[in-house]
């Protein structure tokens, strides 16, 4: 039992080292890099949509990549209100999401 537990401990630590060194691997990453997430999403009539209403309560957005995926989800769910305009004041990004076609809701932008 002791040998098994020690082997599990070593594997655990090695995995955590790998996750710390390699981006994208799940590890004990807890809010260490939270980007500013200022943004505005408007429908065709100019009404502002709150993307957080499309997230489970308590979901903490920490990066723009995820935010843009949520925006795409909102756009797809609310296609009836397309086109949408999406803006990120701090990055200067402003795009129109047509809502039509397979990529009509994808936010294309160099990060």
């Amino acid at each position: 039992m002791r040998s098994l537990c020690r082997a599990l401990l070593v594997l655990n630590v090695l995995y955590c080292l790998l996750a710390a060194a390699q981006e994208g691997i799940p590890g004990w990453h807890m809010f260490e890099s939270v980007e500013p997430l200022d943004h505005v999403l408007r429908d065709r009539e100019g009404r502002v949509l709150d993307v957080r209403e499309y997230l489970p309560r308590g979901a903490n957005l920490v990066d723009r990549g995820e935010l843009r995926k949520v925006v795409a989800f909102v756009c797809e769910r609310e296609r009836a209100w397309a086109p949408f305009t999406y803006a990120e004041p701090s990055t200067g990004l402003e795009v129109t999401l047509s809502g039509s076609g397979p990529k009509g809701c994808v936010v294309h932008a160099a990060r």
Binding site: C5, E32, V34
Partner: protein
């Protein structure tokens, strides 16, 4: 005092039966709180397609709501069994097996740090039966419980390492996380305090278990107050911190 004695390095796999009982109860409570948090957060609506599939990695597809209901019921039942039956070896054995299996599926479907932590604890507890009523419990080694205790150190240390390597100490991440409510200087200072606390807690728990437990509770209460959805994680960490209570001295 020699270092090995100060940090009880010779008895890292010895545990106090009363502390282990409370660890099991708190771990059970964490399982129940985790289910309640998911219910209140609207994870059900994720499975209807109304909400964004938050944390869905795609390893296991989003499963039907009936399966989610069964998953929640099994996790809550395992948690309640641990709260009520922490001193019954068969109840603990069955509860941790069910919890480990269901949590593994849940984490593969929607990844979360607290889900992984709860799974790891449950999995470690399946490795050896735990009879806290045994009169010799405190005199025997319990390597699986040692693994649970080591997990606390792993979480804190690697969380701190990841913060250090991602520039958390600069204060911007904390400021952004709290919606810009902190000034630059205060955010920097608090960020350094968070990292220092995470690095120090495992050592404080080894050397001064009671003070360490108070610090763990204080830190996670603060996190839970500032960030929604992290209560079960704090409860699981508190449960693990309870395991640092020193074992009874032999012959007493």
């Amino acid at each position: 005092m020699p270092l090995a004695e100060a940090f009880r390095l010779r008895a890292l796999e010895r545990f106090d039966a009363r502390a282990v009982t409370w660890f099991l109860r708190l771990f059970g409570a964490a399982l129940v709180v985790d289910v309640a948090t998911e219910v209140m957060a609207g994870v059900w609506l994720v499975h209807t397609g109304a909400l964004y599939p938050w944390r869905h990695l795609g390893i296991v597809p989003l499963y039907p709501r009936s399966v989610l209901a069964i998953e929640w019921a099994l996790r809550a039942a395992a948690g309640l069994a641990l709260v009520a039956g922490a001193r019954r070896v068969k109840v603990v054995g069955a509860a941790v097996r069910v919890a480990a299996l269901v949590l593994l599926v849940a984490v593969l479907e929607r990844y979360s740090n607290h889900g992984v932590l709860l799974f790891l604890i449950a999995f470690y507890l399946t490795l050896a039966p735990l009879d806290v009523t045994s009169p010799t419990f405190g005199e025997r080694d319990h390597p699986a419980l040692g693994l649970v205790r080591a997990q606390l150190a792993i979480v804190y240390v690697f969380s701190a390492v990841n913060k250090l390597t991602h520039g958390f100490a600069g204060g911007h991440s904390l400021s952004n996380l709290l919606g810009g409510a902190l000034s630059g200087g205060l955010a920097r200072a608090l960020s350094v305090v968070v990292i220092a606390t995470e690095l120090a807690l495992p050592l404080v728990l080894l050397r001064w278990p009671r003070a360490g437990l108070v610090a763990v509770i204080a830190m996670h209460v603060a996190f839970a107050a500032l960030l929604p959805g992290v209560a079960s994680f704090g409860l699981a960490m508190t449960a693990m911190a309870v395991l640092f209570a020193p074992p009874p001295r032999q012959g007493t």
